[in-house]
Amino acid sequence: MESSNELLWYALSVVAFPALIAWLAAMPALVGPLRTRRAAVEMSVAFALALAFIVSFVRELEVGALTRQFPWSPLDSSAPIERWHRLALIALALCVLAPVLAGSRELATRGMDRLLSAKFIVIASLCVGLLVEFPESSALWQWMQALLCAVSAYYYSRLGGAALWVSAIVFASLAALTLLAGCASFAVMCAATSLAAFGMAIIAAIGAWRNPRAVAIVSGGAFALVAGILTASVAMAGRAYDMMSMPVWVWPAVACLPVGGFVFDRLARRAPHRAAATFWRTLGVFLLAIVLFVAVMVLQAADSKEGEGEADPMDGIYGVSSETIHATFS
């Protein structure tokens, strides 16, 4: 009984608490007086999403795992910097970039704000692709990482009011996949980010219902930057640390899940009101995620059956192949 309480407390600490912090950070712009200001909504939602990831990272590991990565931080030799800790650094950079981009877009002339977003996304994608190196990343994978960041951000930017619901589905999918891949900490952080997005989507819906002058959730600009880059980065980290040999295409595919928002594009465009369009876009992503999971499960099951048939009865007895055993005793 005591043990299950402790486990619940842990789940609250690493998943619910970061999500709560994100909700509180976004609250003034979602249900408060700032809901009528486009830049405030864009900035708050984007900032809160990245914040949830960082808080979860710090709760799961320690603050030192983040601060040690700064060049001016005195290194603690007893705990090495692991490459996947860069994910928190990316989230921190996105926390800083989100208000800068939202503010710049607000000040830019109409039309220029899109160009500004594109510039930010391309530069940030190139930085993440070329500077953040996970294990077993060839040059091709580094470029793929940059490309996926940009593609994911582009599709998030076109989701409109469905962006928060979609990001909740995408991060939940990432949580499930990384857990299957043997990366429990990634799963925890993605779950926290997913819960943050889900909660913010509900709060945003309440805010829109309460305030007739409320602006819609802005999916472009800062939100697309944060959600796109975080999604692609976690997916690429999942590929790099996958210890369960999942099909390699799964990771780029999960980063591209926001594309599912356009499966029912015609229905979404013809929707009589904003909520209906949001429903169709969210449904498309949800169905695509289901298809992805079914494919992964089928392939995993097929792989394990194939492996069973090929096994040599001597294999694994001494932990080496039967050929080695026969060679040793001959």
Binding site: E6, L7, S78, A79, A181, G182, S185, M243, G319
Partner: protein, 210 residues
């Protein structure tokens, strides 16, 4: 110098001078000329580890196919010098899924730290063919000094020549090596203390000239 000061100093000097050879920790920099190099036989060398699971049972796993050498005079006139490497990819718990989890970033992080290495640096004889070793254990990129009890299991004959077996036992705290997942977060999933039994067998490859 007063007599009261002289007596303890003289006593200490005498104790060191007349102490039996090898009963104090000896640094293992220069193996004796009579030492043989024993190359580990991967099939018969493994490191078993034991950890408490959910505060209940002790769970055992092993690293198969150890690699490395032991330098030791077969007459036991000096301490064995161990330099052993285990590949994280060779972890074997009997469950493929669990092996994957252990190789993942929460535990051994095989992608970044593919090897675990133990090198003995000092030794004290405890009894005949038994040694208390001090050595450096490198795990997840962290090197810490550890202590191990080691026995010479036996010297036998194989088709290729002499075979020598050793068994070393040590206990470490995995949190000292930055492997803290499951100790407090999530709480009490796995213990911090890990007991290791390194059971090795090797072939004598050369005997230095007397």
């Amino acid at each position: 110098m007063q007599l009261t000061t002289c007596i303890p100093v003289l006593a200490l000097t005498a104790a060191i001078a007349f102490a039996p050879k090898n009963f104090v920790g000896v640094e293992l920099r220069d193996p004796p000329a009579s030492s043989a190099t024993i190359k580990l036989d991967a099939v018969h060398s493994a490191a078993m580890f034991r950890i408490q699971h959910l505060g209940a049972g002790f769970f055992w796993g092993r690293f198969n196919a150890l690699d490395g050498t032991v330098t030791w005079p077969l007459d036991d006139s000096a301490a064995p010098i161990f330099d052993i490497t285990a590949k994280v990819a060779n972890v074997d718990t009997g469950s493929e899924k669990l092996d994957g989890n252990l190789q993942g970033p929460n535990f051994f992080n095989e992608k970044e730290f593919p090897e675990i290495r133990f090198r003995s640096t000092a030794a004290t004889r405890t009894t005949e063919r038994a040694w208390h070793l001090v050595g450096d254990l490198t795990l997840r990129g962290v090197t810490k000094s550890v202590e191990a009890e080691c026995i010479v299991a036996g010297i036998g004959k194989g088709p290729m020549g002499k075979k020598v077996g050793f068994e070393c036992t040590l206990t470490i705290k995995r949190s000292d090596f930055g492997m803290s997942w499951g100790i407090e977060k999530p709480p009490k999933m796995l213990g911090d203390e890990v007991r290791l039994i390194i059971a090795i067998e090797g072939d004598e490859v050369k005997a230095a000239a007397e």
